[in-house]
Each structure stands twice: as structure tokens, then as C-alpha cells.
Symmetry: C2
Subunit: 352 residues, 2 copies
């Protein structure tokens, strides 16, 4: 059945959506992963199997990690305003969930996606959403292996992702120790900048804002970084910036029982964030530290290993920025020249 | 902080909800599973770790199964009408998701729960919901190991469950073959009966309806049945009745490429379903086969193994009912005396 035919006939029911849209979109997918210790994972049952569950065969010792993110909320005002499409939010759902897998140092395997939609949603829009989920997962090396679809008053999107990592290589938030360096995989503030500009009435579809909007359209979880971190004995902790950079630093300091000093001069700042701050007439550091869901990774690295880790990232064509250091104590501060000040931006209090 | 204090201060923000309600509710949880082949799974990071993901250490060859169910929808009119509480729907979320794990023959390990709530929801209600999820998971041998909480316009509940099974013991929907028997773990129609009575204006909180309402209040996934089925070489396929008995039979017949003959005289019928049918002035078979989410398991069993499987269930104090047979061909029918007729009830077309 073609997309045109789907529209002409009105939205399909659930079993037909699975048979006509979802299973064809997924194709005959295969996935094999091999960890550094020789442990393997292989897909047995994916979407096409249409069984009660997806299934992977695991051989050898490994740690499986799993997390869930609901991604539909006020932040999808960008969708309501037409800046991101159904395909984009599908991709976002996959990327946001796989980012948590990357933050544990794991190889992503599968995504379970929950897609509830209003009955009036056209099948062509539904198809694009499913294709966005598929492509977002594939871009990160994972497969959409199942989930739940059905109707609701409005689009509701939630997912779970899971992956595997070698025993001993799992990255948690508790390993930061005084003397280590704080590193980040890329500049922050882009996603938040896009949101704030759109809320201020700017047309962020314009070319000058493309780098900002891309953060919402093509979430790129830092899987390769995560795997480099996991395999390096010098990397001691990791988390993603899904609660903003200030949130990540505060969470890491609290979980590890340390103090974190971020150095202003070391922070990577994207030109697009500088321009957004100028347009919004705000401090660029507020964008950079604040509520911006850029899905970068923050990690701590032993002082004598940081050059090796940076070099390994560079060999994969990836950046790594040292942005601070770990000290004894608690809390987190910004070093500005010879002064230390509080970190700008709002902390993570989603529902306060 | 006590529950009273929580109410007096108004709803907590997200990080406080995690720290004050969720982590204390979960306690210091531990979970170890050992499969028949000696493979093990052990919880490394649960809710208390508050990391990006939950983590389990797996040793030895095993199959991991994972599925997702969104459970908030029109069917929760029972919640809107006050027949089921926040605790009950929490339990339902856990039970519904773990039922899919049971249907694969797997040992449940973990549940990731997505709970989005209106800002006006009292913390005491939120606590009860979280406790319901916890207790529903624990009753099935699993732990709530993480997920996502936050606000939304109304309560949205979704989850993913995962578990492990020995290679070779995975139960799918494709293994039914002619000559085998069709079995079910218990009577159906109770959940649907409760819903239809409530929709007809009956007060289903009354004692006479307690067996029906209990299907919504305390979902009991058939994990022990599933494990008996998984370990028996005589059991060839399995699925749960979350789309109703008619839906399960049709799905199984289509997935395995067989015809299924259900025998009317063999169907287990609970007295409460007979009474509900009388009250509703409908055919008891319509309740029994129709849209009733009873979370029983339907399985196919080799003819020469069915007595052993039944005996093993009986040793665990569990029922198993032979209700039909598998034949060559396609489709499914009801044998009524010497006649065969179409199976009563509506097929699974949630959004038709």
C-alpha cells in the first residue's frame, strides 16, 4: 500500500499500522555486537517478529544497562511551532534515550519505543515518525526492536534503550576524585539557545540558526566517545548533559562527593551560541550552563591519562575539551581569572 | 519527611521527589537470578544509584527479553470512576509489563517506569503510585530499577520490563504445530466483565464483583507458569491474553501458520463471569473471548507432554486447562458440540 493510498483510506488501525508501516520500515534487521572481552550480543527477535518481547542472545560476561526517557513535554513547543517535524521528533526520541547508554560507556543495542498518537494523525505523518525513530537509532548503532503503539488525545512519545558494556568498563557518576580533570565532548548551549530564540519569536528555521536547530533535529548521542572512555582506565566517571551543563556538574559533584571547579577560559563556545546570546541580550554563560539539552558527555579523567584519552578521541576525529578540575570538598564553582564565582544558569528543577 | 509534611508543603519538585519518595520506597534492593544453565544476573545499579541507566551484571549464556507497554488510556475509566486507586494503577503498570516477560518464558529482572503527572497531584498520591509499581514488580520477582518522572497535563504511565531465559527455552508465538493441544493458565473475561459492568453503571466495588475488580487491582503475571513452560520441551509456543482470548488465539494461529480449534466444553468459566454475563444480558462467551485484559498465558503443548506439564503446574499449586487443539490450515474456530462456529467477541483493533 502506498502512502497516498494510506491517506485516501484514512488512518489505519493498530494491527494494520504494524503490518503496513512499522514492519516494512524496519526491514530484515540484524545486529551483532562484540565487546572487548569477547562477549557477544545478537538480535533474535525484533519488530518483524511481532512477539510479546524483543530478544537478544547474550554470550559471555557483560553488563547490560537500560534507561527510559519520556521526551514529549513543554519543550516540544518547537514541534508545535513547526520547527521540527515528525521525523525529527522520532529521531530525537531515539537519540535522547541512546545518550543515556553512551553515558554508561555501553554499546547501544536496542530501543523500545512507545508511540501514542491522536486518531486524526495521518498515516504519512505516523510513517515519518517511525522512520525518524529507526534512523535515529541506526545512526547510533542500535535498532528499534519493539514497543507499543496506540491512540491517545495527543502525541505521547517515550522509549527505553539498552546496551552492553564489559565488566570493569561501566562508567558511573561516582568515580570522580580530587586531582582529576573535568572534560566535555563538545560545546553546550545550542539546544537551549534555539529554544529561547524561538520563544522570543525568532524564526529559527533561518540559515544563521541552523547549528542551533540541528541539535533538536539530529540528536547525536556520543557513543564513540563513551566507548573510548569506557575502555580507558584513566576515565573515572561520566554522565550526559541532558539536564544542562550546570546540572551535570552539580550532579557529578554530589554523586562523587567532590568539589568541581570549571574554568571559564577553557569552556568551548560555539559561535552560534555567542550570536544567540547577543540576539537574546543575555550572558553567553547562561546559555552554556543552563537548561540546554545538547547530549554531550561530561567525564572525569586521571591527570596522567588525559592526553592519551584526548589523542584517542582525535584519532576518531572527535573533540575532547578539558574544562576544569576536581578538588576535595563539595559543590561546584566557576573560576573566572583569579576569582571563583557561582556557576551561572538555572539548576535542574523541572517541576519546581 | 513524613507524608503529612509533604502535603503541607505542596508537591515536591522532581529531584526532591526522587530523593524523598522514590529512593526511600525502593530501599536497598538486591536481585540475583540463576538460570537452569547456571547463567546469572545480578543488579549493579538500581533506583538508589540515580545514574543515567540501571545496570545488571550478566554471566554466562542467556537470552535477554524486553518489552514496553503504555497502560494509560480509555481503559482507565475505572480509575476516573474511583474503582482503582493510584496504588492499583502503579501495580497494574508493573504487572502488565511483566506479563510480556512471563509470556517469553523468562525470569523477570527489572522494570523501568515512566510516570508523568499533573502538577496538582499530591505527593501522597504520587507515593502510592510509586509503591504500587514497586509492589507489583516485587510480587512478580522483579525490581523497579529506574525510569523517568516529571510533569504532564495528566497522568501518563508507561514502562519497559526485561528478563532473562536460557538459550533454547525462549517461548515465541511461532512454534504451534498440528496435533498439539492449546492450553490456558486460567479463566478469562473477568477484567472485561468488570469494565462492562462499570460502563453500564454498576457499582463494581460491591463484594459480589470483587473477583472481577481484583483483575485490575492486582495484576498477577503468570511468571511461574511461564518458567514451567520454558523448561518443558513439550511446550512449543506461548503468548499472553492482553488482547483478549480471541485476539490471542488469532495471533497464535497466524504467527504459527496453523488452525486452532477451541472446544467450548473445555473452557474454564469463572462464576463471577457467568454472573456478569447474566447481569449484562450478554453471552458469557462474548465476555470470555472478548476484549478482556486478564494476563493469562495461552500455550501449545505436544500431546504426549501435556500431562507432565499439567502435573508440574499442579505441584506448584497452579491450574492448567486444555481448551483446544492445533490443526493444519489457518484461522481459528469454536467447536460447539459437533458444530464449529466462528469465535465470538471482537478482534483486536484498538484504534479502528
Amino acid at each position: 500500500m502506498t502512502t497516498d493510498a494510506l491517506i485516501a483510506n484514512g488512518p489505519l488501525d493498530e494491527p494494520s499500522k504494524i503490518a503496513e508501516i512499522i514492519v516494512p520500515a524496519m526491514g530484515e534487521e540484524e545486529l551483532d555486537s562484540v565487546l572487548a572481552n569477547g562477549a557477544t550480543a545478537r538480535l533474535l527477535l525484533g519488530v518483524a517478529a511481532q512477539d510479546d518481547c524483543a530478544a537478544f542472545r547474550l554470550e559471555g560476561d557483560q553488563i547490560i544497562v537500560a534507561g527510559s526517557d519520556y521526551v514529549r513535554g513543554p519543550k516540544f513547543s518547537l514541534y508545535e511551532k513547526g520547527f521540527i517535524t515528525n521525523y525529527d521528533i522520532g529521531w530525537y526520541l531515539a537519540g535522547a534515550n541512546i545518550s543515556d547508554i553512551a553515558a554508561m560507556g555501553a554499546v547501544p543495542l536496542g530501543l523500545l519505543s512507545v508511540v501514542r498518537y491522536p486518531k486524526a494523525l495521518r498515516d504519512s505523518d505516523f510513517s515519518q515518525l517511525i522512520e525518524g525513530i529507526r534512523d535515529g537509532a541506526r545512526a547510533a548503532g542500535a535498532l528499534n526492536v519493539g514497543g507499543d503503539i496506540g491512540s491517545a488525545e495527543r502525541i505521547i512519545l517515550s522509549a527505553s534503550a539498552f546496551g552492553v558494556v564489559e565488566p570493569g568498563n561501566l562508567l558511573t557518576r561516582t568515580g570522580a576524585r580530587p586531582g582529576q580533570f573535568l572534560c566535555i565532548t563538545g560545546p553546550t548551549g545550542l539546544a537551549g539557545g534555539a529554544m529561547k530564540l524561538a520563544n522570543a519569536g525568532e524564526d529559527i528555521a533561518r540559515e544563521e540558526y541552523s547549528a542551533l536547530l540541528a541539535k533538536w533535529q539530529r540528536v547525536t548521542p556520543r557513543v564513540t566517545h563513551g566507548r573510548i572512555f569506557a575502555r580507558s582506565p584513566a576515565v573515572t566517571s561520566c554522565l550526559d548533559t541532558s539536564d544542562g551543563l550546570k546540572g551535570a556538574v552539580e550532579t557529578l559533584a554530589a554523586a562523587s562527593g567532590v568539589s568541581i571547579v570549571v574554568e571559564e577560559d577553557l569552556l568551548p563556545i560555539d559561535d552560534s551560541v555567542r550570536r544567540a546570546a547577543a540576539r537574546l541580550n543575555c550572558d553567553v554563560l547562561e546559555l552554556l550552563f543552563g537548561d540546554s539539552v545538547d547530549f554531550e558527555l561530561v567525564a572525569t579523567v586521571d591527570a596522567d591519562g588525559v592526553n592519551d584519552v584526548s589523542a584517542e578521541c582525535a584519532q576518531s576525529g572527535l573533540d575532547l575539551h578539558v574544562i576544569g578540575r576536581i578538588e576535595p570538598g563539595s559543590g561546584s564553582v566557576l573560576q573566572r581569572g583569579r576569582e571563583t564565582v557561582g556557576i551561572p544558569g538555572a539548576s535542574w528543577r523541572h517541576t519546581a
